[in-house]
Amino acid sequence: MIPITLTVNGERVSRHVEPRRHLIDFLRLDLGLTGSHAGCEHGVCGACTVRVDGEIVRGCLVPAASLDGAEVTTIEGLSDSGEVADLQAHFVARNAAQCGYCTPGMIMTAADILRHHPDATRAQIREHLSGNYCRCTGYHAIVDAVEATLAERAARRQEERR
């Protein structure tokens, strides 16, 4: 067992983990944070997207044992912070979550677009989300929700400048 101390959603956590434990199982099984999902568990679907040290990663391709000193943010932390409240409202309004399995990963990745690419075009939104699979929605509603959030935030920035 490997001892680790890290920050998860702002709280300090110390645990002993087996090397074979990936970050998603650590969050779900050891910490009870079930918002992050495990889908394929080999890097292709994006259901496991979380932030490590401020940047999105595939949680299924990160050993928990490697995260001593790291700062992890999950969908629970992101939701509670209010950072994506508007994005979540647009997801609900457009039915961009159906079964919801992909949704936490989608929101984490979409939040990355909001943060790093505030002027993203529709094509750039699709490109950025291309590593996140959704088997229900056909993606249009998701892309619409991200686009609407970006537009709304841009309008608000304009407003503030005036």
Binding site: P19, E41, S130
Partner: protein, 291 residues
């Protein structure tokens, strides 16, 4: 599938790494970004005994320009390659390759050292390293050596790396003002490995004459393929439509693509020719492009 039972050692220095190798012998396997290794664990395609995490070894980090050499530490992540100002200026081909590699979340973890060591024939960075005539700085408990990227890839997922040896850095000659470079690929979905791709590097003088062409293809062989005949067809010629046609024709003799999931060899040859024409057309002076 869940990963098998494995060991894990966190190396904080090169000495930690050599020590872990002494203790665990052949069971020790280096873990960098984990974006390939951990996926192969899930598939049971690899079963190392002990993962030795090298991501905290300071000597393997950082990008620097020193004594006329651009040195990219093996641990430099794909996303970092894409936003580093030194790379943008002195190795723009590498920055241009980044958007083709996987997806944002994977680019935040995967490293250039891991990509070169894994040597996937359809990967972008090995082809860029060959096209840019990079030198790889290798380290082991026994010492160090430098090898050219061109000879480093020895076959499918195979390299010159000896057991226990690691890539410490990629060293590149900084791009000259005359350098032109481009990377293009064909894949079915964004982020997939290429069905065929080209990393094209050459120099163009004021008269439009080509020097030092290094067109390199990926996804069309068991390793990156430096297109020797196509390059010979271009060298010393003024880049124009006729020169491009001559290079496309000469390319036939450079490629011997295997059939794979995507299709037969003839399809790959076709894609490679199309990519060669598109890449070289980008280097034509504006008036000829319009023509």
């Amino acid at each position: 599938m869940k990963w098998p039972a494995i060991g894990y050692v966190r190396a904080r220095s090169l000495d930690d790494l050599w020590e872990a190798q002494r203790t665990h012998g052949a069971a020790a396997q280096v873990l960098a970004g984990g974006q390939t290794l951990l996926a192969t664990l899930a598939f049971r395609l690899s079963e190392p005994g002990v993962l030795v995490d090298i991501t905290r070894i300071p000597e393997l980090r950082g990008v620097a320009l020193r004594d006329g050499v651009l040195r990219i530490g093996a641990l430099t992540r794909h996303a970092e390659l894409g936003r580093d100002p030194l790379i943008a200026r002195h190795a723009p081909l590498i920055a241009a390759a980044v958007p083709y590699i996987a997806h944002p979340a994977i680019r935040n973890r995967g490293t250039i050292g891991g990509s070169l060591a894994y040597a996937d024939p359809a990967a972008e960075l090995p082809a860029c390293a060959v096209a840019l005539d990079a030198t790889l700085h290798l380290l082991s408990a026994r010492g160090e050596r430098r090898v050219k990227a061109e000879g480093f890839f020895t076959g499918l997922l195979s390299t010159l790396l000896e057991p226990g040896e690691i890539i410490a850095a990629v060293e590149l000659p900084p791009a000259s003002p005359a350098q032109r470079s481009a990377i293009l690929e064909v894949s079915r979905r964004s982020g997939d490995y290429a069905m065929a791709g080209i990393a094209a590097v050459l120099e163009l003088d004021a008269a439009g004459q080509v020097a030092s062409p290094r067109l390199t293809f990926f996804g069309v062989g068991d390793r990156p393929v430096l297109a020797t005949r196509a390059n010979a067809a271009l060298a010393g010629r003024v880049l124009d439509a006729a020169a491009i046609a001559a290079a496309a024709e000469a390319l036939e003799g450079d490629l011997d693509p295997p059939a794979d999931l995507h299709g037969p060899p003839e399809m790959k040859r076709h894609l490679a020719r199309v990519l060669l024409r598109r890449a070289l057309a980008q280097f034509l002076p504006a008036r000829e492009k319009a023509a």
